[in-house]
Amino acid sequence: MKKVFALLLTLTLCVGLLSACGGTKTETPASSGSSGSSSAAGSVYYLNFKPEQDEAWQNLAKAYTEETGVPVTVVTAASGTYEQTLMSEIAKSTPPTLFQVNGPVGLANWKDYCLDLTGTDVLGQLTSDGFALKDGDATLGIAYVIESYGIIANKTLLAKAGYSVDDIKSFADLKKVAEDITARKDELGFAAFSSAGMDGSSDWRFKTHLANLPIYFEYQADGIGTTDAIKGTYLDNYKAIFDLYINNSTCDPAALAGKTGDDSRNEFLAGEAVFFQNGSWEYGNLVGEGKPFTDDDLQMIPIYVGAGDEAKQGLCTGTENYWCVNNSAKEEDIQATLDFMNWCVTSETGTKAMANDMGFVIPFKAAQESPNLFVKQDAAYTAEGKMPVSWNFPTMPSENWKNEVGNALTAYAAGTGSWDAVVTAFVDGWASEYAALNG
C-alpha cells in the first residue's frame, strides 16, 4: 500500500515538474506559432545597436508585421554591450538574423556569420558601391545610415564675440577666433570650446573621431585606404587641434579629466561654450522641445586641422553601421530578413520612419529628406563642392589601440604625459596591434 502511495506521489511530482517544463513548451510553440503559421515566410530578429532608436525600430517592426504578417523582433543591446549581446545571442537556438558590424575590423571577427549579399534587392538599392562592405568579392555588409560630425558652433554666441561662421574657413581662422574668445573670456562670459569628457562617455570624440583626421590626410597623401603601419605624417596637426581644444575650453586643461561627455554637452546647452565637437546624432539632444536651441542657432563646421586643401574640406561624413545577415539562420528567415531590409529602405513607411523618427540619412535610392539640421548642412557643403572627409576609423586596428591613444591624450591634457607618448601610442601601437591581430 505504502509503495503504491509513494509511486503515486512520485508520479504527481514528476507531472508537476513536467508541467512546469510543459508550461514553457506550450509557450514556445505559441510564440513561434505566429512564426509557425507563416513559417514559409520566416521571421526576422534584428539586434539593434543604437539605444536611442529602439522605440522607432519597435514601431517600424510592428508596422511591417501588420502589413505583411511576418513577425519581426527587435532587440536593442544596452550601450557598450553590443558585442557581448551579439556573442551570447548568436549561440542561442534562435539567433539574430540581422545584426551589425562597425566596418572592416568588426567584419573580420564576424565574417564567418555574414551572408554574401551579392545579387540581393537591398544591395541594388544602395546609391553608391562605396557603402557596401566587402571581403574579397563577397559583399558581407551594407551601410544603412550615414552620419556626419564636425564642430558644432553656437552662432548666437559667435555673433556676440563679433564673428560669424563665415569667418572660419581654415585652421588659422579657427585658432584666431578661439584664442580671441579665450582672451576675452571674462568679458564675454563664455569660452571657445566645451570641456573634453575623456572618460568612456565621450572619449571617442578625440581618440576616434578627431584621430580620424590625421589618418584621413595620410591616406589621402599616400593614396591608400587602409594600412597596417601608420606613419603619423599629420600628427603635428592632430596636436595643434587638440591643443586648441584644451587650451581654450571652459576649464583648465588639468581639470579636463574630471569632466564627462554629459558635462561637455550641458556646458554647450547652457551657452558656456561656442564650439562643441560632435555629430549629427546629437541633433535631438540640442534642438527641439525643452532644448534651448533652434535650427537658426547652430551650424556644424568642418574640423580644420591645417592640412590638405582647407577651402574644399567638408564635414566628416561616413558610417560605422553596417547591416549583416546571419548566414547560419534558417533559409526562410534569411529570405524574410532580406525582404524586411528591402522594405525598410524602399517603402514609404520604412524610409519615412528612418528619416523622421530615427533622424537617419540612408544611402539608398528611395531615401527621404531628413529633418536633421546637420545632415542638411552636410548636403549643402557637398553641393558647394566641398569634399566630405571619409570615416577611416573602422580601419583602426582595435579597441585597444583607441584606448591607448585615449589614455595618452588624457595624460597629455592633464600635463602628466608628453605628446611623445601619444605619438608612440598612435604609430607604434598601430603596428603592434595589427601584428597581434594577424599573428
Binding site: F5, P51, S79, G258
Partner: protein, 281 residues
C-alpha cells in the same frame, strides 16, 4: 568612574552617529539628484541640493516608469524572485532531510557535490548554463526558477543539512510509529521545526535573487523583452555616451525603495537570518 564611562559612551555614540550619516548619504544623494532636471545634473554638482531652478519634481520618475518598461521589469523581478525562493525552500529542505536521514554513500556524495557547487563561481558555467537553459526552453521568467533551483541548491542544501543535524531524530521516529509516512512526517513534523531556518535561507536567497544581474542577463530570452531591474538600469546609457542620468537615478531609487521598506518591516528576521546563515555557512 561611572560618569567617565557615560561620557566616553556618548562620544562613541557621536562618532557612530556621524558614520551613520556617511552611510545613508549616498542613497540620499541619489534621491535628491533624481529630483533634478536632466540638464542640471553634472559630474561636479552631484552634491548640491536641487534649487528652484533645477528642481524637476517627479518628471524623472514618470520618464523612468514609462519609457523603458520599468513596470514589466519589476514584475519579472518579482516573479523570478518569489517563484525561485519558494521552489528552493521546498525542494532543498526535502533533499536536505533525505541526505541527513539516509546514511548511504550516495547521499554523502550528493552532499559533497552540493557543497562543491556552492563555491564554484558563476563565470565557470555562464556560457554552458545559458546554452542549456536556451535548449531546454527555461529562458522565461516563469521557468528560470528551475535554473535557479539547480544553481542555488548548493547553499540551501548545505544550510538545511547543518540545521537538520541538530534536530533530534526521536520526534520523527515517533511520528513514523504513529503511522505517518515520510512525506507526512516531513511536512507535518520536520517543516514546522525548520521554520527559523526556512526564514534565514529564504532571506539569503531573496537578497541574492533580487539583485542578481549576470545570470538573468545571459539566460533570459531577450527577444521577448524579458528584463529584470538590474538589467534595465543599464539601458539608460545611449550609444554615443549620453547617459539619461535623471531617469537612471529615478529607477535606482525605485529599485532601492521596496528593499528598504521590506528591510524596515522585517529587520529582525533579516539580521538574525544573516547571522545564523553566516555562522553555518
Amino acid at each position: 568612574m561611572e560618569k567617565k564611562r557615560t561620557l566616553r559612551d556618548n562620544i562613541l555614540s557621536g562618532i557612530l552617529g556621524i558614520l551613520c550619516i556617511a552611510w545613508v548619504y549616498p542613497i540620499f544623494m541619489i534621491l535628491f539628484n533624481s529630483l533634478k532636471k536632466e540638464t542640471s545634473i553634472s559630474t561636479g554638482s552631484a552634491f548640491q541640493l536641487p534649487n528652484s531652478e533645477s528642481f524637476a519634481g517627479l518628471a524623472n520618475y514618470v520618464n523612468a516608469l514609462t519609457s523603458k518598461g520599468f513596470l514589466s521589469a519589476l514584475w519579472y523581478s518579482l516573479v523570478i524572485t518569489i517563484s525561485s525562493v519558494v521552489l528552493i525552500l521546498i525542494c532543498c529542505s526535502m533533499c536536505a532531510w533525505f541526505i541527513t536521514r539516509v546514511n548511504s554513500k550516495v547521499s554523502k556524495a550528493l552532499y559533497y557535490l552540493f557543497v562543491f557547487s556552492m563555491v564554484v563561481p558563476f563565470q565557470m558555467l555562464m556560457f554552458t548554463l545559458s546554452a542549456t537553459a536556451d535548449r531546454l526552453h527555461l529562458s522565461s521568467p516563469y521557468t528560470i526558477c528551475i535554473i535557479y533551483l539547480g544553481f542555488g541548491a548548493g547553499l540551501a542544501v548545505f544550510m538545511f543539512c547543518g540545521f537538520m543535524k541538530s534536530i533530534p531524530i526521536t520526534i520523527e521516529e515517533a511520528a513514523m510509529i504513529d503511522g505517518c509516512n515520510p512525506i507526512q512526517t516531513f511536512f507535518l513534523v520536520v517543516l514546522p521545526i525548520l521554520k527559523p531556518t526556512l526564514i534565514s535561507v529564504g532571506i539569503l536567497e531573496t537578497m541574492w535573487l533580487w539583485n542578481d544581474y549576470l545570470l538573468p542577463y545571459l539566460v533570459l530570452d531577450r527577444t521577448k523583452g524579458y528584463m529584470t531591474i538590474p538589467i534595465l538600469i543599464q539601458y539608460f546609457r545611449g550609444s554615443f555616451g549620453k547617459v539619461e542620468m535623471g531617469p537612471m537615478m529615478a529607477s535606482i531609487m525605485m529599485n532601492i525603495i521596496p528593499i528598504i521598506i521590506v528591510y524596515l518591516l522585517c529587520q529582525k528576521h533579516i539580521i538574525k537570518g544573516v547571522a545564523a546563515g553566516a555562522v553555518k555557512g
